[in-house]
Subunit: 422 residues, 2 copies
């Protein structure tokens, strides 16, 4: 391999610090916003199979061509800035565990979301199950590092698809009294989840507060699928929080460059964020732009790559410019075991999220193997590291009080009904 | 264990992001400087067994009481700001590999410094030796992540103490043509090292450039030992660079608090930095304030602790206020093997250094077990991670050309003479 000189090396250099420290450089962010506006105006975003959303965007000034709507970015920003809250209270069954998302509040940390497999502490690798889910929640509850117990820490493979959301809800309500995230399995389930949670919390409606935060992903490039759009409408109208995220694979579903991905991601999340305010002004939202270089050898994203950290640093600033909270990712890694690679990749991503000022950090604990596996041992270690690194505490949480038996009975009844239909 | 509520948890919180992001807050830095000034004025610094240094400080306005000199902090800052360069060129035998330290230049990365033990790739743990040193240098040379080959990567246990510096110099000159660091084994050796390096580089004197960077540590609390003071004088007068560092153990050699350690460290480095300019206005300097919580169980510092990261973020800003380059640390860890702990602790420290804008990062590769051991495998991994994370490159360096045979002969002659005297 031909070597390169020190001069070339300096030309190749692309430091996090050098790139970011002077980035009070408003011109760079103006340029990103302007480029995203051009995408929105000239190319538009596809909103699949949801005429109601398209009609709403048309009324807000969008130019509709079948499912594609071309939009005015600065108008979308105006809609968001006019009513989206700078911060909101994400409530818990136990009011002492309420968290504030955004503003000057501390970062929220939630565990991995969506892992099909589980690596047990015995070393055995199994499919996710209801029992394991409850065990993971018990650990999440007693870990001071996790301020939110999340959603779908692992897939409940031994439970029918129709029942999974309710089994998870039951677990979040009985194994913990910390805040958690909502379901977007379907618009109907999202609504039921919202209603049952409200009944379980028994807390009166309150301005600036909600009970659930939902992960609503667009599907890069430049597309929203039907289900997230319908869920988003229900969530926003109910006054519950949505975390509008674009999760890009650089070189596969977005450009290979950092700037290109930031521009695409911003163009993607902007209409989603504006929709929440169109459905209900003041509905709480969080913005997430995440991009991971796609590895053509493994056909998978490369977690822990520095490009993603730069995207994170810029995306948190883009959200501050909109005046809304931002999302970061936690200890994500491409490593298959919890080794030095997992430790260093995860710590780099998490550090970038925290330093960027992200308000809600998903995938904070347990993530292994591109998120396909939750490791119970790593779950504990990650949660402990957050507590010691970012919270300066290691006091475990006291066990939760049992929830209202009537609610538990109602959810169990609903599960029984689903089972009988099936 | 008694649990704690969400509210208490928020009170306990001490986030990197929240603490640092608003730290364009000049008042906090003014307060640190003012408190350090009070220490300098009321307590003073002990300069052991070096009347020449004490006399120089007296002439600069210091109030001398035997070895303790009480000083005016703002006068020291004036001395530093008047002549210390914002950046300097640290030259290499191969001019293509010159690096610039400070200003808007890219960060320099140097390997671990001072490890007595070596963990070989076979898993065997041995004492450092001349052969191993040369092997480590060969790896450092071909690693694009390391822009400086450092000094004393491991201790040369099979070489007499009197010969070690020259054996190392020979190795740095023959196994690589990248920049490296100087020796402070004794004032005489420091001088010889400087002269021999200059002869080997065969590069004419040049304003704003030097050949060697020296690690000059004060000894907390509030003390400089004789040898570093005498070396410092020689180094500065020769126009070579000194990295004045305070390496504190919080709770043992400095206060347990972040603010307290920053204040003490700043009071300690300030006179050292000023001395370089008193000995020779314009002499290149780097400032380092590093503090690691001391663990009373293991009687060792805890590397990877978040407190140190906050110290780093603030100390880099303190150096920018002085207008001089700053030091950070790399992948340091308390872990005994290169595992998830090593990966995450190291990545956190390194990320804090890079994000803080540190200009020269020591201990970037190989560090294990509180720095008592250099792991060859970790050396490779750390260097590769820097290249990919912070330099966005992985092109290996071409082999170095052989140095001038006359210089090699001269160093070998000197080694022979030492051996004969012994």
């Amino acid at each position: 391999m031909k070597g390169h000189s020190g001069c070339q090396q300096r030309e190749l250099s692309d430091y996090l610090a050098r790139s970011f420290l002077p980035a009070t450089d408003a011109a760079a962010f103006d340029a990103i916003e302007k480029a995203a506006d051009r995408i929105l105006e000239e190319v538009g975003i596809r909103f699949q199979n949801d005429p109601e959303t398209i009609e709403q965007l048309r009324r807000a000034g969008g130019v509709v061509d079948r499912e594609v709507v071309r939009l005015d970015g600065s108008a979308l920003r105006q809609i968001i800035r006019r009513s989206a809250p700078r911060s909101f209270r994400l409530r818990a069954r136990n009011p002492d565990r309420d968290t504030v998302v955004g503003g000057l509040a501390c970062t929220s940390f939630a565990p991995i979301y969506g892992a099909p497999d589980v690596l047990l502490e015995s070393g055995q690798r199994v499919k996710g199950s209801r029992d394991i889910y409850r065990q993971l929640l018990a650990i999440a509850h007693e870990s001071p590092g996790l301020t939110n117990t999340g959603h779908m820490i692992c897939v409940l493979d031994d439970v029918s698809e129709a029942s999974r959301a309710f089994e998870m809800l039951l677990a979040h309500l009985t194994c913990s009294d910390k805040p958690f995230m909502g379901s977007i399995a379907s618009p109907e389930i999202a609504m039921e989840y919202i209603d049952l949670t409200a009944a379980a919390f028994q807390r009166p409606p309150q301005t600036g507060a909600c009970n659930l935060l939902h992960l609503v992903n667009c599907t890069p490039p430049l597309t929203y699928w039907e289900n997230p759009l319908k869920c988003l409408r229900i969530i926003a109208r109910a006054g519950e929080a949505a975390m509008i995220s674009s999760y890009m694979m650089m070189g596969a579903t977005s450009p290979t460059t950092i700037a290109g991905s930031l521009i695409q991601g911003y163009a993607e999340v902007l209409p989603g964020l504006a929709l929440t305010q169109l459905w209900r002004p003041g509905a709480p939202v969080v913005m997430g732009i995440l991009a991971w270089p796609f590895d053509m050898r493994s056909m998978q994203p490369n977690f822990g790559d520095p490009a993603s950290q730069l995207v994170q640093l810029y995306s948190s600033e883009l959200s501050r410019r909109l005046g809304i909270p931002s999302r970061g990712d936690g200890a994500v890694t491409s490593a298959k075991v919890d080794d030095a690679q997992a430790g260093s990749e995860g710590a780099r991503v998490l550090a970038a999220s925290v330093v960027s000022g992200a308000d809600f950090i998903l995938h904070s604990a347990g993530w292994l193997e591109q998120g396909r596996c939750v490791s119970v041992a790593k779950f504990r270690r990650d949660a402990a590291a957050i507590a010691e690194t970012y919270l300066q505490t290691s006091i475990a949480c006291e066990p939760p009080a049992a929830p209202d038996p009537a609610i538990e009975a109602e959810i169990r009844g609903r599960l029984l009904k689903i089972a009988m239909v099936a």
